[in-house]
């Protein structure tokens, strides 16, 4: 099972000083937190995506590309990549590029986003959010699996003879998680393609997301990808840890109370009624184990630790406590309780093994420039001659 952290680069005033970090500080702090998570042995760092202040999370592939070089083992992911307002062609290109840069040490999570004006800012209509997300993913899926794509849909200009470059590393597309908190159609799409399903598992009553997770599991099995128990499920969460329970509450309270999402609520109430874990390492462990009891064996647990109100010092302490006092126990306890046959979340190495066994993976070598800045109707040396590109004609 994978354990990690996720964030959206939010900036909020430090309750001690009343001053928010600069964007420059927040970006560097995010990098430090990601590097600490890597040094301390966490499995996943996920980031993004918002397109307005007070967030610096507009360009996850840029940050993750830097982190690919600045970290060693940690898997880099997104939380989330907007499948609605990003052009799926750019997603295909940017994340395949990241996959090469990170040598496969990445995956991505797709979501619709929750900021209303981002749709019009990117020329889209929020009322079409769900069909937009579904159609865009259908295209993204093909762009990573077919060298030459002819496509026509409702929301994007048609494609004729298009090849997304670079081709995915080793011919194996990045693994995709679909994030959804209320939309069965998104869970259905995740199940149909055999992709992962992630519930952010924040700011909602305990086990609020269980019906959607169960639906995804049933449909995953319906489409023949395995049993419901073998479906690939990820959960979010949020935690604040101190050696002693009361210290956790005392220290977290100012950060909690100045956190805009929690205005008008009480820390005790949110910690009781929602997946937020506040307490000693053992209390955080106990609460996280209840997630498994409620949702079944799952593959990925991410916590929001590096929140906007928390200065980088305490954020680094939190990541250290999580990685040294909580996750090692959870790793052991989750593994001990895991039903036989439940898979891990796919890594690049596992996907390559599944696709090729002991055979040599694909090495995409383009044909030479045919003189018009394309490589012609069969763009790669191993392109399928049955499916040549029908390139647009130039006037």
């Amino acid at each position: 099972m994978q354990f990690g952290i996720f964030g959206v680069g939010d900036i909020a005033p430090d309750p001690a000083t009343g001053t928010p970090r600069t964007e420059a500080e927040r970006i560097q702090d995010t990098i430090r937190v990601a590097q600490a998570a890597d040094d301390l042995g966490l499995d996943v760092f996920a980031f993004g995506e918002h397109h307005n202040p007070p967030f610096v999370a507009s360009a996850p592939p840029v940050l993750l590309g830097y982190l690919a070089a600045a970290t060693t083992n940690i898997l880099l992911s997104t939380s989330v990549t907007l499948i609605t307002t990003n052009d799926p062609v750019r997603i295909a290109e940017e994340y395949a590029f990241l996959q090469h840069v990170a040598r496969g040490r990445m995956d991505l999570m797709l979501g619709r986003g929750n900021t209303v004006p981002v749709y019009p800012w990117f020329g889209q209509d929020i009322r079409q959010g769900v069909p937009l997300a579904l159609e865009h993913y259908n295209l993204l899926h093909r762009l990573w699996r077919e060298d030459v794509v002819d496509w026509e849909g409702t929301f994007r200009t048609p494609l004729q003879g298009f090849t997304a470059t670079p081709r995915p590393l080793d011919g194996v597309p990045p693994f995709v998680w679909h994030g959804a908190i209320r939309t069965p159609e998104i869970a259905e799409q995740a199940a149909y393609y055999g992709n992962g399903y992630f519930a952010n598992h924040l700011l909602a009553p305990n086990f609020h997301f269980k019906p959607l997770v169960d639906f995804y599991r049933q449909r995953f099995a319906h489409y023949g990808h395995g049993t419901p128990e073998q479906a690939i499920v990820g959960l979010g969460g949020q935690a604040f840890i101190a050696k002693r329970s009361q210290d956790a509450y005392d220290r977290f309270r100012p950060y909690f109370e100045s956190y805009p999402m929690f205005r008008g609520t009480s820390l005790e109430q949110i910690a009781r009624d929602t997946p937020l874990s506040v307490g000693s390492p053992q209390e955080v462990i106990d609460k996280t184990m209840t997630f498994r009891e409620g949702f079944g064996d799952y593959q990925r647990q991410l916590w929001a630790m590096d929140i906007g109100t928390l200065p980088v010092g305490p954020a680094l302490e939190q990541v250290e406590l999580l990685a040294t006092e909580v996750v090692p126990v959870l790793r052991r306890e989750m593994a001990a309780r895991r039903a036989p046959g439940v898979p891990d979340a796919p890594t690049h190495a596992a996907l390559v093994r599944a696709a090729y066994g002991d055979a040599e993976p694909r090495r995409a070598r383009p044909r030479p420039n045919s003189g018009d800045n394309t490589s012609g109707p069969l763009p790669y040396l191993d392109s399928d001659p049955e499916r040549p590109a029908s390139l647009p004609r130039f006037a």
Partner: protein, 249 residues
Amino acid sequence: MSLGEAPYRLVAVSAGTGEPSTTRMLTDRAVQAVVARLRDSGRNTAAYVVELAPLAAEIGQSLVLGRPTPAVAEAIDRLAAADGLVVATPVYKAGISGLLKSFVDILDNDLLIATPVLLAATAGSARHAMVVDDQLRPLFAFLRALPAPTSLFAAPEDWGSSDLGERIGRAAGELAALMASGVGREIADGGWTAYQHSFGGRATRAERTGTDVDLDTDLMRLATGGAYAPAPSASTPPAPRPPGTEEKP
């Protein structure tokens, strides 16, 4: 119908805050009258009053959180399961109580589809008499509930007039008739899919588990790799074309 059948569930919502509250008094009188009418027609009724005042802080929190707190959720579930409702508000500053509006604001849009409802208001002056029809009735029209034709309104002088009792009887008769006819259930059962819903809602007919989900829809076909071909909507502008892709004549 007989007294042996499952009792009707009548739920009243009172937004009164006084102790005693005239809004609660009007609520109780309306509830008693509806229960009596249904009993006369041969059916038992289980009545329950949801007082909003003790939930005031949690209603505010639920609004901010975007999801009901446990105590508010319990109240909402009572409304969802009701065969009929009495909704009563005091008039403050020439309008319905903000507490009631905040409570209604956190209900699912489809929670009360075709639920018969008796609307009632109290005020310090008869000059507020139209508040119930001008404000409560449109609110419950938005919710696609079935308001009884007669609304109740009580100013101070009405408590000394037998006319109020007569109006309560008339309105209670209307609500009882709507409940006994089963017309609300018939409307909701027959046309449920034609209203807007969201997964995991609190309405009794809401999709709550995977087995409730309708897989035979345009969106579900799109989710599984199909093309999206909904009926064209006049209100939806076409996606903008990137520069250089304008259609050539």
